[in-house]
Symmetry: C2
Subunit: 211 residues, 2 copies
């Protein structure tokens, strides 16, 4: 009731020093690298510590457990993940809005593949840590945007289609280029698999969803 206030989890007074902020960020970066490659269970604290250039006990001085690192990563990730969809504007031109959304998602697949894989891994394992978020914030956001798309369709500005599955299809196709990158590159081969593959994908997807 008095000073501490919070019976719940997070530290009541983070009050981080400069070094703490820097080191925690350094650890997050290293952990992202390791977790996205090996998954949660497949990664060890030692690996993360080495990638961050510090000893294991030192890392555990900044994060009290492996789980704690993972959770802060997921938290940050979800923010960035929802942002592009949030920006879809009901008052904008439908084709332009959809096109922008696709472009941003492809750019994210290109520029933040580790984040995408981390997210995919979490969902694959049954989303044990973010289930409430999926059923709450995410569902609400999708429902809201689906309604916008439904109106665009009603106005004849977009092709007839189920808005929810429309959004799923954009997610699936764009994230595919991050999550299944090795397969994409293996199949395209050295010639077509160069860095142009993201531009090719974006062009293809625009046509697919708007053409």
């Amino acid at each position: 009731m008095s000073r501490t206030g919070a019976i719940v989890d997070e530290p009541a007074k983070p009050k981080r020093t400069r070094i703490q902020r820097e080191r925690r960020e350094l650890i997050r970066e290293a952990a992202l690298e390791v977790f996205s490659q090996h998954g949660f269970r497949g990664s060890t604290i030692d690996q993360i510590a080495e990638a961050a250039g510090m000893s294991k006990p030192n890392l555990l001085y900044y994060f009290k457990s492996k789980e704690a690192i993972f959770v802060t990563l997921i938290d940050r990730l979800m923010e960035a993940w929802l942002a592009p969809l949030r920006e879809m504007n009901a008052d904008g031109d439908p084709a332009t809005e959809i096109r922008s959304y696709i472009r941003r998602k492809v750019e994210m697949a290109r520029d933040f593949p580790r984040e995408s894989r981390l997210f995919a891994n979490e969902i694959l394992q049954g989303a044990p840590r973010i289930m409430p978020l999926l059923e709450g914030e995410l569902k609400d956001l999708v429902d809201e945007k689906a309604e916008i798309i439904r109106q665009w369709i009603r106005q004849g500005k977009l092709r007839e289609a189920d808005p929810h599955h429309f959004i799923f299809a954009i997610w699936a196709t764009t994230q595919h280029y991050a999550d299944f990158d090795v397969q994409v590159r293996a199949v395209l081969g050295p010639e077509k698999g160069g860095e142009s593959r993201f531009e090719d994908a974006a062009a293809f997807l625009e046509k697919l969803f708007l053409g």
Copy 2:
């Protein structure tokens, strides 16, 4: 040179008894359940053994290591995985062939989600065990079918689009309903997330790719 013949891996003479065949199949089923939920590193031999209703040493009597179980699973999986694409027939009606392919892939997402997740997991981790297959057999198959699609497009039977990315898009969207199932159900909610979601998805995807 003489009797053994194979310098390579697999046992020259499997010569399995009835019990061995049954038990090995039982173990594969249990391993599929466990691996697809927790990934390779996240699964333990004990978990698999318990799921198969036997002791750990007993399981190791049938498969010499955890890795060995995983490998036979992947092998079987890849066969089933390539089959639908193999069936795409150059002499058939393009729309019908694509429609059938999409339907089969959606059915596989519905009926074999564990296999899909196992595969996704392997690719996510960089496909350490199936890279040669991706660059060889898979690439060849995709190139062959892409050529067929290219001709269909040239004949005006399909919309203009890059055949490789066209195939990727079908993979991504259909497998999404297996790999990201928890997210799909969370977003659709109890009403729309019932078992009809696969039929809805199939209908949506047909329109998307052929409409």
